[in-house]
Symmetry: C2
Subunit: 237 residues, 2 copies
């Protein structure tokens, strides 16, 4: 969406997943991550994690002097504005769903929305295992989504995006899929000033808090491309 | 196994799972955890985690002045000594299996053992979701164990114990299950001096690094009993 911009990515791979962790712990970890990125000179911060957005968005937006964008509002808004009937499903980690953040965000854009949420903690593990299709993934998705489909949702917001093609098949063609990652990327273009055309080609830097080699494998699978500028950092303590 | 002994348990719930993390990170976390427990006056340490044992046993045994027991050797020894044919299966997290620790340990007790290993990272997530039986768990178990059963294992060492009843059904009656947790509890009795009969009833203290409430739910499910003396501690930094 912003091909001219440079990006600096930090994955807190030594402490993921954030999904099952408490609000207080996630907020502490998110502040440490943001401090590292601000120290690298970023002009805007995207909290590219639903759990961290749910638990730490307000804290980070208050603490930092740069624009901060969470991953919840863009998807919530797209779903609220495009759902024909207002019956909207939301799936995500336990932390995201139990916080009620999507529910509140969708109803802030559409007061009469009927939001049906379901925590789907196994999807992250399935994606990391590479089981993004096949019998186990499909049966897991059907088990999780059964109640939402029966409730008549016409739109499903993906708070976790790793299994998108499979989830589309499971809910069927009548249900629109809103990918919070896509919606957030588009929203980022509203808060970032265009890159100076004379500033040279953009760079993509990646940092992780655990061993970079394992990340390199996963990144290849998720991004469909190999990554350059990959480094290890410690952000705790 | 040691009903008269007091225990102090530390769960690093803010940073679990250790399974997918690198050796260096797991070693750093395990040292922080051991320092906390030694500070509480323990007389022996059980590393009750296969990944931490695989990556950090030697480091902890060298660093501490008290007996240290990992969870790998007891199960490996029981399997090596009781397997009729020596064709032994091992399952565990990615870290446990990729380290080759069980393979080496089993062959140290029985040089001609034919060890077949399989990383099963989804089992932890299934157990935490409470899906310890049912279609998804069973299909996942069959997918993971297919090759081991076909290889003719007569003994299966559980490096992760949460799905024991299900795994027993999946491998069938011809395969002995060795639970590394049970074997470790028995081995602990060799390294701990009997409690002084005059020292009063034993205590069971639990500490976690994330919010204790979530742990209380899971502990109830796993232990089949509610827990007393539960506290929150921070061990990083």
């Amino acid at each position: 969406v912003l091909p001219g911009e440079s990006t600096i990515y930090l994955g807190d791979t030594a402490r993921v997943p954030y999904g099952p962790k408490s609000e207080e712990t996630v907020r502490r970890y998110a502040l440490q991550a943001a401090e590292f990125l601000v120290g690298r000179g970023i002009q805007a911060l995207v909290i590219a994690c639903n759990t961290a957005t749910a638990h730490a968005y307000t804290t980070l937006a208050d603490a930092l002097d740069i624009p901060v964008l969470g991953v919840v509002d863009p998807g919530a808004r797209e779903a609220a504005e495009t759902s024909p009937t207002g019956v909207i499903g939301v799936i995500g980690t336990r932390g995201t769903i139990e916080s009620g953040t999507y529910d509140r965000a969708i109803r802030s854009f559409r007061a009469d929305a009927d939001v049906r949420s379901r925590a789907c903690p196994l999807f992250v593990s399935l994606a990391e295992e590479g089981w993004v299709s096949g019998d186990v993934a499909e049966l897991t998705a059907r088990t999780y989504l059964e109640d939402l489909v029966e409730a008549g949702i016409d739109t499903l917001v993906l708070g976790c995006t790793h299994l998108k093609p499979l989830l589309g098949r499971v809910v069927g063609e009548g249900v629109r899929i809103v990918d919070s990652a896509d919606a957030t990327a588009r929203a980022t273009s509203w808060i970032v000033a265009p890159a100076d055309p004379g500033s040279g080609p953009p760079t993509r830097e990646y940092y992780v808090t655990d061993d970079p080699r394992r990340f390199e494998e996963l990144a290849g699978r998720f991004l469909g491309a190999s990554i350059e500028h990959l480094g290890h950092v410690e952000i705790d303590g």
